[in-house]
């Protein structure tokens, strides 16, 4: 699915990713943990093509295609999805128009006709249920006036609409209460298929109890310094990152 080799990236003059290598196979869920400022969000931003970051070295292949050559919208069409840590409010653009544009551009990319109004609304209704998103939210402008929890649920709703091959959840658990986290996690689990993969970026093991990862990576100073099974998340929860930092620096 995804093959990252020796990826380097910077923002302005500051180098943040210093040689990341990562392989994710079909159907796998990988967790990426790490202390603040280690480069977790930068990694997700670089993968989806955020123009603020500059890739200075390395390669990324996504289902056999060179991801770094693609425009952000084409990466999305190829099946890459990012659940934003801070979803953006877009006043004046209704959720419906926003989703319709997204769905129909994806369909056009795949050579399909645009969805008619009735089918589109039916799709919206079905997918909304997955994250228990209220109709009145989908009638509003994108993320405008949404609570923190509603914004995150809205991210998963969009993921349900777009059915990505690889979803990156960037601290989707931050700012969520227990119930909202359960709804989000159940939503993500319902959307999993044997082919679809997932990267979960998080600080805590609580979300990983609900979305079980196959592999846990620890990112530190722009490199992956430790990779292990799900038990690593538990260990970090108990012992913190210091022992890993010490290990990597020795």
């Amino acid at each position: 699915m995804l093959e990252v080799k020796d990826l380097h990236a910077k923002i302005g003059d500051k180098e943040i990713l210093r040689g990341i290598s990562l392989t994710i196979n079909d159907g796998e869920t990988h967790a990426i943990m790490g202390p603040n400022g280690s480069g977790k969000s930068t990694l997700s931003a670089v993968l989806v093509g955020n123009p603020l970051y500059e890739v200075t070295g390395g390669t990324v292949t996504f289902n056999g295609k060179n991801l770094l050559d693609m425009k952000p919208e084409d990466r999305a069409h190829e099946g890459l999805f990012l659940s934003f840590q801070y979803p953006v409010e877009i006043p004046g653009v209704s959720m419906t128009n926003f989703m319709r544009a997204a769905i129909n551009e994806k369909r056009a990319y795949e050579g399909l006709e645009p969805l008619n109004a009735a089918d589109f609304l039916k799709l919206m209704r079905e997918k909304r249920k997955i994250v228990e998103l209220d109709t009145k939210l989908t009638n509003r402008s994108v993320n405008e006036g949404f609570s923190g929890g509603e914004k995150k649920r809205n991210e998963i709703f969009q993921m349900a609409m777009l059915e990505p091959k690889l979803a990156i959840l960037d601290e989707t658990d931050s700012g969520l209460d227990v119930d909202a986290m359960r709804i989000v996690a159940e939503g993500v689990n319902k959307l999993r298929t044997p082919q679809s993969s997932c990267i979960v970026i998080t600080h805590y093991d609580r979300l990983l109890d609900m979305i079980r990862p196959d592999v846990v990576h620890v990112l530190y100073k722009g490199r992956i310094v430790k990779t292990a099974g799900p038990e690593l998340a538990k260990e970090i929860q108990q012992r913190g990152f210091d022992w890993i930092k010490a290990e990597s620096e020795s």
Partner: protein, 448 residues
């Protein structure tokens, strides 16, 4: 440059002709207006209210005028087929400056006593009534373009809604610019809404011919106690069109005015809006939406005078400028001594989509009362990069994302329109405009 000379000469040579093809009421103020115009000349850019639009160069070319009132062949009903869907309006046409009365208006009958017709003819029928209002708030001493219009205007539109009458069906007036040669048009509109009366008006400007048009327009609107006037002006012409429109509104106690100017397609447009509160408890909403690209130029200049206490004014003007378009907004709110409990908000927000697009903005507040609530603000910015990226991550192309954001930006003004079918129609037109797909009404031969 002394562009005024040709108009002064014109008046000298055509004065008799102007008089013989107009009404006494209009003729009565003509010489005075001529004197005011001769004294002031055309404004240069040193005149504060004309700082952003160069009248000297706009009025320099030699346009033809139809002073002899020759019949210009056209059948607007034949040509105009783009009704706003579901907007069952009473539909009228103004051909250049003449009221088209060769066919009855589409739509139902107007309520008893309501008059919509040729200003010249109505002024001949009811000279005393019209004389009470004509050229009273549109002062020729203060604005040379108003003086020029008053001195040359021979006809136009008269709208009268008598006391207590509510006109349910909106009235749509299509101003058609039609000529086989480059033409100057001086159109005059008088609107009188009496106590407790209500009317919603939609004025649409269209150019039928690919000629250069220079239009001056003066609208005087009197809104009496407890009356309500909605005046929506939509301009959809072409790049060879210059329009200078001066709107004067006087509001009495507890009256309401919604005035919205939308510029979708134009060459050079200059709108002046002056509104005076004469009675307490009145409210006005002035708004404007400008979508301009290429080398289009749109200048909105407003003055709201709070002369009495307890009035509310809201202003919202939004511009989306692409290409090398130039926009200007100068708004002044003047709260007179003793106009306590005034509430006034003015906002001008602008998007410049390119580095070449230019916006001049000048919000002004002048307050001589001590118990008021006033705010004004202005922004010039670009599209939000974070929002653009968010949309692209969802698979929306950069082009489409930009369109959606521009569309959303302009919608705030359109959403304030109180005629739902018109609002829907404008959403549609604005979207088409942004997409660069014909910005004319479909199926309409008018706006070529």
């Amino acid at each position: 440059m002394q562009s005024e000379k040709q108009y002064i000469d014109l008046y000298g040579s055509c004065r008799d002709m102007l008089f013989s093809h107009s009404a006494d009421v209009m003729n009565a103020v003509r010489d005075g207006a001529f004197a005011d115009f001769s004294r002031q000349g055309l404004p240069t850019r040193k005149v504060e209210r004309y700082k952003y639009t160069d009248m000297q160069s706009l009025f320099a070319p030699d346009y033809g005028l139809n002073i002899n009132r020759l019949d210009i062949p056209a059948n607007p009903y034949e040509a105009f087929k783009c009704d706003v869907p579901n907007l069952s309006t009473s539909l009228y046409f103004i051909l250049n400056d003449g009221f088209y009365d060769k066919a009855l208006p589409k739509g139902g009958l107007l309520p008893d006593g309501v008059i919509i017709g040729s200003l010249c003819k109505e002024a001949a029928k009811n000279p005393d009534f019209i004389a009470k209002y004509y050229s009273k708030i549109a002062k020729t001493t203060e604005d040379p373009i108003t003086a020029l219009n008053t001195m040359l205007a021979q006809d136009g539109l008269f709208i009268y809604v008598p006391r207590g009458v509510k006109v349910d069906r909106a009235v749509q007036v299509i101003n058609i610019l039609r000529s086989d040669v480059d033409l100057m048009i001086n159109r005059r509109v008088l609107i009188v809404v009496e106590e407790g009366a209500e009317i919603k008006l939609l004025f649409c400007d269209h150019a039928m011919d690919d000629r250069r048009f220079l239009t001056t327009q003066v609208i005087e609107a009197y809104v009496a106690d407890n009356a309500s006037l909605d005046l929506y002006c939509l301009e959809e012409t072409h790049a060879k069109n210059t329009r200078v429109s001066n709107v004067y509104i006087e509001q009495q106690a507890n009256s309401r005015v919604n005035h919205n100017i939308i510029t979708l397609h134009n060459g050079v447009t200059r709108n002046r809006t002056d509104l005076i509160f004469r009675g307490e408890g009145a409210e006005c909403n002035l708004s404007g939406c400008v979508i301009a690209d290429k080398e289009q130029h749109v200048d909105n200049n407003t003055l709201i005078e709070h002369r009495v206490p307890h009035c509310t004014s809201n202003e919202l003007y939004k511009y989306v400028l692409d290409g090398k378009a130039v926009g200007a907004f100068a708004g002044r709110v003047l709260v007179h001594h003793g106009a306590q409990q005034t509430s006034s908000v003015m906002n001008n927000r602008n998007l410049c989509a390119t580095k070449e697009a230019r916006m001049y903005t000048q919000p002004m507040l002048e307050i001589y009362a001590d118990d008021v609530k006033c705010a004004h603000g202005s922004t010039v910015g670009q599209l939000n990069d974070a929002a653009l990226f968010y949309m692209r991550q969802r698979g929306i192309s950069l082009k489409e994302a930009r369109l959606l954001l521009q569309f959303a930006f302009a919608n705030e003004v359109i959403d304030g329109i109180r005629l739902e079918p018109l609002r829907d129609r404008l959403h549609y037109l604005v979207e088409k405009r942004f997409r660069g797909e014909l910005s004319r009404c479909e199926g309409c031969k008018l706006c070529k």
